[in-house]
């Protein structure tokens, strides 16, 4: 069943964008809620083995989400998402950032713009996420960070790739 759900992941190196389309087996209102309500967002946003911890959230124009992804050892990686252009239940836009536990934004790390759109697809829904980085180098930095922080086990495969590139 799950395998039948649409999942497109497109990287446009020319425009520095990621476009991610995913279908969900639920009505649009519920999917919207999962993206925009803290108690629901906390249950899925951080990829395994991380968990999500929200410090503060105000889902509204000009509002923000200050959260941490917590690894199994308890180390916290803080993020800050600013919301704008909120149009329930069609779309919203955000600007993301890395920050500290106090919400002070790290200006040295890349920020990306997110445009998250919700559509009906029969009884299901689709969510289209377009993430735009200022440059491809920014995208690369984000990917590298994922690896350095041990964000996900599969990224270890990058080490093998590196070995072949170094030769």
């Amino acid at each position: 069943m799950k395998s039948n759900l649409q999942f497109d992941f497109l990287v446009d190196k020319g425009n520095n964008t990621l476009t991610i389309v995913r279908e969900f087996s639920a009505e649009r209102q519920l999917v919207w809620d999962c993206y925009t309500k803290q108690e629901l967002l906390d249950q899925w946003f951080a990829p395994k083995p991380f968990t999500t911890k929200t410090k503060s959230m105000d889902f509204s124009n000009g509002g923000h989400w200050h959260y941490a992804m917590v690894d199994p050892e308890g180390k916290e990686y803080w993020g800050y998402t600013e919301y704008y252009d909120v149009n329930p239940i069609d779309f919203y836009r955000t600007i993301d950032a890395f920050c500290d536990s106090e919400g002070t934004i790290n200006q040295n790390l890349p920020r990306a713009k997110w445009h998250v759109t919700f559509n009906d697809k029969g009884e299901n829904s689709t969510v289209t996420t377009v993430v735009t980085y200022d440059s491809l180098n920014d995208l690369e930095t984000i990917i590298n960070m994922g690896m350095e922080e041990g964000m996900i086990a599969t990224l270890e495969k990058l080490d093998e790739l590196l070995a072949t590139l170094k030769k």
């Binding site: 799950k2 899925w44 395994k48 690369e140 984000i142 690896m147 990224l155 495969k157």
Partner: protein, 110 residues
């Protein structure tokens, strides 16, 4: 760490991307590549050199000429690399699937 950054810097430049596109159809000399751009020849040579250092193109001597060839496998490795990024999203969405089905099952029980 440095090497990975180099590869992404290589393809982050529009001229270098254009050179890679040119080389998808045929091998070319530096001179033939330069003819496609307004930039000065040494500038184009520098771009080619960077691509070469990053292993994205290969220089092959043929008689008196050096022909540059796109190394398709290296380009694919960049895509493979991005594939790892995709896995993060897959994982995240799988968790959302579970959450949605949990919520929907609870609703149906009521």
């Amino acid at each position: 760490m440095k090497l990975r950054r180099d590869i992404f810097q290589a393809i982050s430049d529009p001229t270098r991307r254009a050179i890679l596109v040119l080389l998808t159809s045929q091998t070319m000399t530096a001179g033939a590549i330069a003819e496609n751009f307004d930039a000065a020849r040494p500038t184009i040579s520098k771009h080619i050199q960077i691509l070469n250092e990053c292993d994205l193109v290969e220089a092959n001597q043929q008689g008196r000429e050096i022909y540059y060839e796109l190394k398709i496998e290296k380009m694919k490795e960049i895509d493979k690399w991005l594939e790892q990024f995709r896995k993060i999203w897959e994982n995240r969405f799988d968790q959302l699937d579970n959450l949605l089905s949990t919520i929907n099952n609870k609703k149906n029980e009521k």
